[in-house]
């Protein structure tokens, strides 16, 4: 039987506020345990939450970026359950009236086609603390620094049909929130966490199969692997005459499998009700317009503009718009050198390769966008040839010189285009290579094109790489052919 996979994602994004969603405690990552957990975060008696305006603004910005409905009124609810890292006994969340309504996110697939994934809603909630199950004499250690950190939970419709689409969707969300600057998107530090709902159904069937929810899948790669395993498990189960049960599973990256979490049935009875400590949040139109006017250009718009305005290929446009830092770097290189295609080639070729080799991100590139733009400009105006350009790039990368012009001057890399000088060098090379000239003369005409490479190499060497290779090629061919 042919099977179809149906996937929906719940993505938790930690918002990059300075203070917590309901208290004035710091959200900075990596502090000593419990030094950033105040009376509100600890759920001590008599404390009241006060909502952080920046968390609201960030959630709304996300909503505007995905063209979502932003309801005028949203309401906080209590999700009740007992766990030591949640000292209040409830998580303040939004069940019935979330701050962001239905919207959509465009994803780019491997073949550069795009697909729209519908967003059901996104809501604000507080993060819980962390439980440490290491050795504390058989007890569990609790760090509540993370308790109260604002989260935006983004819930998609079950619109994805394979693991690649799910990963592409997660990347799209990542790039939207980092473009907006509402989250650092750091998955390793848990700034973005993901629950995956997976089910399978016979191809052509409209009704959904029973789904399993895979918790806490925390990297792009794990999303693909967890789904691949889960899909295979469900298909095998059904084909062997079994039934998928609706349950929560945990992905184990070390064994590359998902495992059932034994949860009591009652654990899912959260008894939501409106939080009496918080009043309804009302957003007026003027506020929404104000936030809308401050939105940066978003990845999908940038990608489209790179193609239509700058004439880049779909692939180049997609790679260069993937992160805000990458896009800004590329745009600056383009501004300085004036040639989008060359800028794209250098950023994705020489620069990306060098960054990769040293495991650097583009923010930490030793060569600046201005320097790279300046270098490309010198290639475009024929001041240097391609080979010299690589030398200049390496020099700038190593901090030898502050601009391409400085390096070109210091290293004497300026391209020789003076025909007289080039002809003199060629004459000398020909005079010094009688054996090769004889070989050239005696070979089949169609093989001569290849043989000319030897002479070009010698001339380039004589010019210490500064001769214009096209020019050398032309003059050489004419001179050698004159000897036939």
């Amino acid at each position: 039987m042919q099977w179809e996979t149906v996937i929906g994602l719940e993505v938790h994004v930690q918002l990059a506020t300075r203070s917590k969603i309901f208290s004035g405690a710091s959200t900075a990552f990596g502090a000593e345990p419990n030094t950033q957990a105040c009376a509100v975060d600890l759920g001590l008696p008599g404390v009241l939450p006060v909502l952080n305006e920046q968390a609201v603004a960030m959630a709304v910005q996300f909503g505007l970026a995905i063209h979502a409905d932003i309801p005028e009124v949203s309401v906080f609810d209590r999700k009740n359950y007992f766990y030591p890292d949640l000292p209040k006994g409830y998580q303040t969340s939004q069940m019935y009236h979330p701050i962001v309504g239905a919207g959509e996110v465009e994803i780019t697939l491997d073949d550069n086609t795009t697909k729209c994934i519908r967003i059901h809603h996104a809501h604000l909630e507080e993060d819980a603390g962390k439980s440490l199950h290491e050795d504390f004499h058989g007890m569990t250690g609790i760090d509540l620094n993370r308790a109260g950190t604002p989260l935006l939970e983004i819930v998609s419709e079950p619109d994805m049909r394979n693991a690649k689409e799910a990963a592409a969707y997660l990347k799209a969300i990542h790039s939207i929130v980092t473009y907006l600057g509402i989250s650092d998107g750091n998955m390793a530090e848990g700034s973005m966490r993901c629950d995956v709902n997976v089910s399978v159904r016979p191809k052509g069937q409209e009704a959904f199969g029973t789904r399993a929810e895979i918790k806490n899948v925390n990297s792009f790669r794990f999303v693909e692997r967890a789904i691949a395993f889960e899909v295979e498990r469900q298909i095998e189960l059904i084909e062997d005459g079994g039934k998928v049960v609706q349950e929560t599973r945990l992905f184990d990256p070390e064994r590359d499998e998902t495992r059932s979490m034994r949860t009591k049935e009652e654990a899912n009875d959260y008894r939501y009700f409106p939080c009496p400590d918080l009043l309804p949040v009302v957003l007026d139109q003027a506020y929404l317009e104000h936030l809308r006017s401050q939105l940066p250009e978003l990845p999908a718009d940038k990608r489209a503009r790179f193609q239509t305005e700058l004439g880049l290929s779909a692939y180049d446009a997609s790679v260069l718009s993937a992160s805000r830092e990458m896009a800004e770097f590329f745009e600056e290189v383009h501004r300085v050198c004036g040639d989008a295609k060359q800028a794209a080639n250098w950023v994705q070729g020489e620069l990306a390769g060098a960054l990769n080799r040293e495991s650097l991100s583009i923010q930490n590139s030793p060569i600046s966008a201005q320097q790279l733009g300046g270098l490309i400009g010198r290639v475009l105006d024929d001041t240097i040839n391609g080979k010299a350009a690589k030398q200049v790039f390496q020099a700038l990368w190593n901090g030898q010189g502050s601009s391409a012009d400085e390096v070109i001057e210091a290293k004497g890399l300026k391209q020789v285009t003076d025909t007289g000088a080039i002809e003199a060098m060629i004459d000398q090379v020909i005079a010094e290579s009688p054996a090769q000239v004889a070989q050239y003369r005696d070979s089949e005409p169609e093989k001569r094109g290849k043989m000319i490479g030897y002479f070009v190499g010698q001339v380039m060497k004589a010019s210490r790489g500064t001769a214009n290779p096209q020019q050398v090629n032309g003059v050489l061919k004419a001179k050698l052919d004159a000897l036939l």
Binding site: S19, A25, E53, T140, G141, I142
Partner: protein, 95 residues
Amino acid sequence: MALEDSHVRRAAHLARIAVSDDQASSFVDDLSRILDMVDQLQSIDTEGVIPLSHPLDATQRLRADEVTETNQRDNFQRCAPAVEEGLYLVPRVVE
């Protein structure tokens, strides 16, 4: 819906409230009367009425995103039964 002992026990367990057998049966009576009243309310036509999420006719005030709290860990942990390396210790919980 007729309320039974088991419903009361379940609700009590979810809220982590200890309820004795005698209390459970008296809660069945009390809670049933509350549910009867809810049933009465259900018969009212509320078409077009906006659900009330808070009794106060006011909207949420927001605070500026500023860190105003300082580290009070030592004070807070003075009333904790067990702490170690800055962590609160609780009976082992296994996921």
